[in-house]
């Protein structure tokens, strides 16, 4: 791929995240402001925690003066999914050199969704996408903290950008996947767990159920999956060279 076009390509692919992060970041900043926390604290959180939904929960934890152990446990529960993102990035992030530490630290839901679908991109692309997303998030929250409630227009619903981005990536994966079974399994088990455990508690059971089911189905899926992946690779190399 053209090396010159790299910054532009990274900026382009992060634009949906920019919309979402600015909106959600401003929301977080406004929330912090309304609870009386200064913009410095807001910026610090977005800089070193850098986990959207967790930071919203954190505002409650800070306000309630939650104990340190329950703060840690709550974080563990809400952010456990990040462990699974890492699992599927092990190979991609091998050989990333000095940038690796930052790339792992900055692996949010949105950055993961952009980078787990990236194909044959150079190291700088991963770094740039991660950095840009981090900047959007910090900028959004600082803006929110400064503006307080005084937003000049009705932003209700703008956070749908995040949902839309995930739906787009889901569709992209659907179109390129050799098999649809893992996506359907994820959809079914997540929806099932949502019904059983409710919106605030379904994430961890869903992840355990998905990973267990994928593990159990390995003998059945792995051979055909590997074959399909090889075929796909052969076809795409053919296209590239053809």
């Amino acid at each position: 791929m053209d090396k010159k076009a790299l910054p532009g390509r990274a900026i382009r692919s992060t634009l949906p995240v920019m919309a979402g992060y600015l909106a959600l970041g401003i929301g977080f900043g406004v929330l912090m402001h309304s609870k009386g926390y200064g913009v410095g604290l807001t910026a610090l959180m977005s800089l070193i925690i850098y986990a959207g939904s967790m930071q919203y929960v954190a505002v409650d934890l800070l306000g309630a003066g939650a104990g340190l152990l329950s703060t840690a446990l709550m974080t563990l529960m809400i952010n456990a999914r990040h462990f699974f993102y890492g699992l599927s990035m092990l190979d991609k992030y091998a050989g990333m050199g000095k940038a690796r530490g930052y790339l792992i630290f900055a692996l949010t839901d949105e950055t993961y969704s952009l980078l787990c679908t990236a194909q044959s991109e150079p190291r700088a692309y991963y770094l740039l996408v991660s950095l840009l997303d981090h900047c959007y998030w910090v900028t959004g929250s600082v803006l929110g903290g400064l503006l307080g409630m005084a937003l000049p227009f009705d932003t209700t619903g703008v956070d749908f950008a995040m949902t839309a981005l995930f739906v787009v990536i889901f569709v992209e994966q659907w179109l390129s996947a050799p098999r649809h079974a893992p996506a359907l399994l994820g959809l079914g088990l997540a929806a099932g767990c949502l019904l059983v455990f409710g919106p605030e508690r379904f994430l961890i059971p869903a992840m355990i159920a998905i990973t267990t089911a994928l593990g159990l189905l390995r003998r059945k899926w792995e051979p055909s999956w590997a074959r399909a992946a090889r075929q796909e690779q052969a076809e795409s190399t053919e296209v590239r060279h053809g």
């Binding site: 340190l68 952010n79 699992l87 995930f166 739906v167 992209e172 399994l185 998905i210």
Partner: protein
């Protein structure tokens, strides 16, 4: 204030720990169990489906607007994407549809 700072540091540390843990458990260059390599290829598909559900977890089918704005906006995103396959168009178009629906139609 000191307590708040310590709480923030704990949240940051636990979040970072979760992000780094898989890379510590399965270090670079070391042989990994085959199941981990397999999970690495199939998990992204299942995780993205889970994230979509996660984003829509607050939708109430039985009350309010019955999830219609979300359903229509997701349909708009999928439709736009199948039509042009342009991520920006799909995301911003879908979001505009959603904002219009919740601010005007279902307000």
């Amino acid at each position: 204030m000191a307590r708040v700072i310590i709480q923030i540091l704990i949240i940051a540390a636990v979040t970072a720990l979760l992000r780094f843990l898989p890379f510590w458990v399965f270090p670079e260059g070391r042989r990994r169990p085959r199941v981990i390599a397999y999970l690495g290829t199939v998990l992204p598909y299942a995780m993205m489906a889970m994230l979509v559900v996660y984003c829509l977890r607050g939708v109430t089918i039985l009350g309010g607007s019955h999830g219609l704005p979300e359903l229509l906006a997701v349909a708009a995103v999928v439709g736009l994407h199948l039509w042009r396959r342009n991520t920006l168009l799909s995301v911003f178009g879908g979001t505009a549809v959603y904002m219009f629906l919740v601010q005007v139609v279902f307000a």
